[in-house]
Amino acid sequence: MRVRGSAALITGGSRGLGRALGAELARRGARVVLVARNGEALRRTVEEIRRAGGEAHALVADVGEKDAIYPLVGAVTALAGPIDLLVHNASVLGPVPLLPLADTDCEALQQVLDVNLVGPFRLTQAIVGSMAIRGAGLVLSISSDAAINGYPGWGAYGVSKAGLDHLIRTWAAEVPAVRFASIDPGEMDTDMHADAMPDADRSTLRDPQEVARWIADWLERAEDTPSGARVEAALEVHA
């Protein structure tokens, strides 16, 4: 897809990869709308993008809430026009420190699924039709190694990401006019990673800005990847 001139909606845009990707896409000429629950951090991010000459808008919403979806989509399209790129980046770990499934409350699992899986389903459903009738558009979800492998403590998060990958595959099979993909960004030096693994050696973690650049490059040649594919960013970065 062509990033320049496109309208991009990125959830979880106040920090970490979402924030870095918002800045990178705006730098490349996209009209970026960032969504997050934390309004203050979000507005700071948007201010930074604007100071650097990019176009960005901030909308405060919780993508895990059913009632938030249509107001969000309405506001985004009013501000930036019909959406060309939807990035499901927002996600929650659930309670930290991470707990094994045997100790995970079902309410905690439910909350992780609401934000990481059901929210992206609802948001895609509210947007994909407008992409389909244009015969264009790209829906990207940020996945994780935990979607593939079962790591102790990562059960709720991993299940949500495995489900999200499968949503992407199924949307791809059902809506050929729109492109879908999951990207596994690898382990990044973010607040979320620090919450999950506070003792990790940060020097071994990827810089979210570097991953954001990789994703932006990938977007420019997304047509080379079959729709619905799961793409591992980390491996290709190191290659």
Partner: protein, 340 residues
């Protein structure tokens, strides 16, 4: 009543103006009623939460946004007095008389000022919303609700009033002829050689409960025709295919454009002023999907450009007799010559 849950089971009354016939169908039959080379034109406007509770110096009002001036803070709105959507609009109390300069609190972070009052009715006003961009839209979505209909058995949520392909929130009432369309049905039509294209048209209020205002409907509405749609319509017309509008708003956009440009539509962003009725000769649109409309409504007047009043009267009587659901969110009609 309540909208049918199974969209493809929505009933479809096919009125054929060429043969002067009526046939009962289901919405899922739509692709069979079209032929290869036809073009479905959709309105991709999302529906705003256009009903706002306002507090004025003189008491509470309901503000129904009717139209937005291009790119600005200025809107046309119709005011309603005390009461709720459960009452028919014509039975609602009158709102307080608000003069230019009166202010309205429309919810947290959203204020408005009356800028002008129509000479036709004191309920038809110009309104300036005192917010823009990032501050306007979240406040509007927090404060507003979709316009409601007293013939429905419950309140409509924002998701109930969106077509499956809605994008920018331009419509104040749902372009409801597209309510039953699904992506799968568009694919099924495409497999039969029926393409689709879209316009964005700011569908306005269908009624106001005020006879003087209703006479003026539809008010001017802004529309946008993208270049691929212009090209698709031209191609279809050049090859003898038919342009089938999904909803009266699409007819208005395409015919307004055709009128401005000597019979051909242009890729443009403009204001639809054209009122279509039995004296109109459609230049671009061959037929349309629409609701089941009774005499006296602006939708019915528009249908008379496509079919004789006698056929439309028969269609309405037939729909009533066979238990079709009427009004907004009811069953649908297709006014189009038969495919074979």
């Amino acid at each position: 009543m309540w909208p049918r849950g199974e969209r493809l089971a929505t009933r479809l009354l096919h009125a054929d103006p060429a043969r002067d016939t009526l046939v009962d169908r289901r919405f899922g039959d739509l692709p069979e009623l079209l032929r290869a080379g036809d073009l479905l034109v959709l309105n991709d406007a999302a529906t705003l939460p256009a009903s706002l509770r306002g507090l004025s110096r003189l008491g509470p009002v309901e503000v129904r946004l009717a139209a937005r001036a291009e790119g600005g803070r200025h809107w046309t709105a119709v005011l309603f007095g005390a009461g709720s959507w459960r009452q028919r609009t014509e039975d609602r109390a009158l709102p307080p008389l608000l003069a230019p300069g009166e202010r309205l609190q429309l919810g947290v972070g959203l204020e408005a000022e009356i800028t002008d009052v129509s000479p036709v009715s004191a309920r038809l006003v110009g309104l300036r919303l005192e917010a823009d961009g990032e501050r306007l839209w979240p406040a509007l979505y927090r404060a507003g609700r979709p316009i409601q209909y007293s013939h429905l058995c419950g309140p409509l949520a924002l998701w109930d009033v969106q077509t499956p392909y809605a994008a920018r929130p331009w419509a104040v009432e749902m372009p409801s002829a597209g309510r039953a369309l699904t992506l799968a049905l568009l694919d099924a039509a495409a497999a039969r050689g029926v393409a689709h294209a879209f316009v964005t048209h700011a569908a306005g209020l269908s009624s106001s409960g005020d006879a003087a205002i209703d006479q003026m409907l539809p008010l001017p509405e802004r529309y946008e025709i993208p270049e691929p749609t212009r090209a698709a319509v031209q191609r279809v017309r050049d090859h003898g295919g038919r342009v089938v509008a999904v909803g009266t708003s699409v007819v208005r956009a395409l015919e307004s454009s055709a009128q401005r440009h000597g019979g051909r539509i242009a890729a443009e962003r403009a204001q639809a002023e054209l009122v279509i009725d039995r004296d109109s000769r459609p230049r671009v649109v061959d037929g349309l999907l629409s609701g089941i409309h009774e005499t006296g409504t602006s939708h019915r007047r528009l249908l008379e450009a496509f079919a004789a009043p006698a056929l439309l009267d028969r269609a309405f009587a037939h729909a009533e007799e066979r238990g079709y659901l009427g009004h907004e969110f009811g069953d649908l009609s297709l006014t189009l010559a038969s495919a074979h």
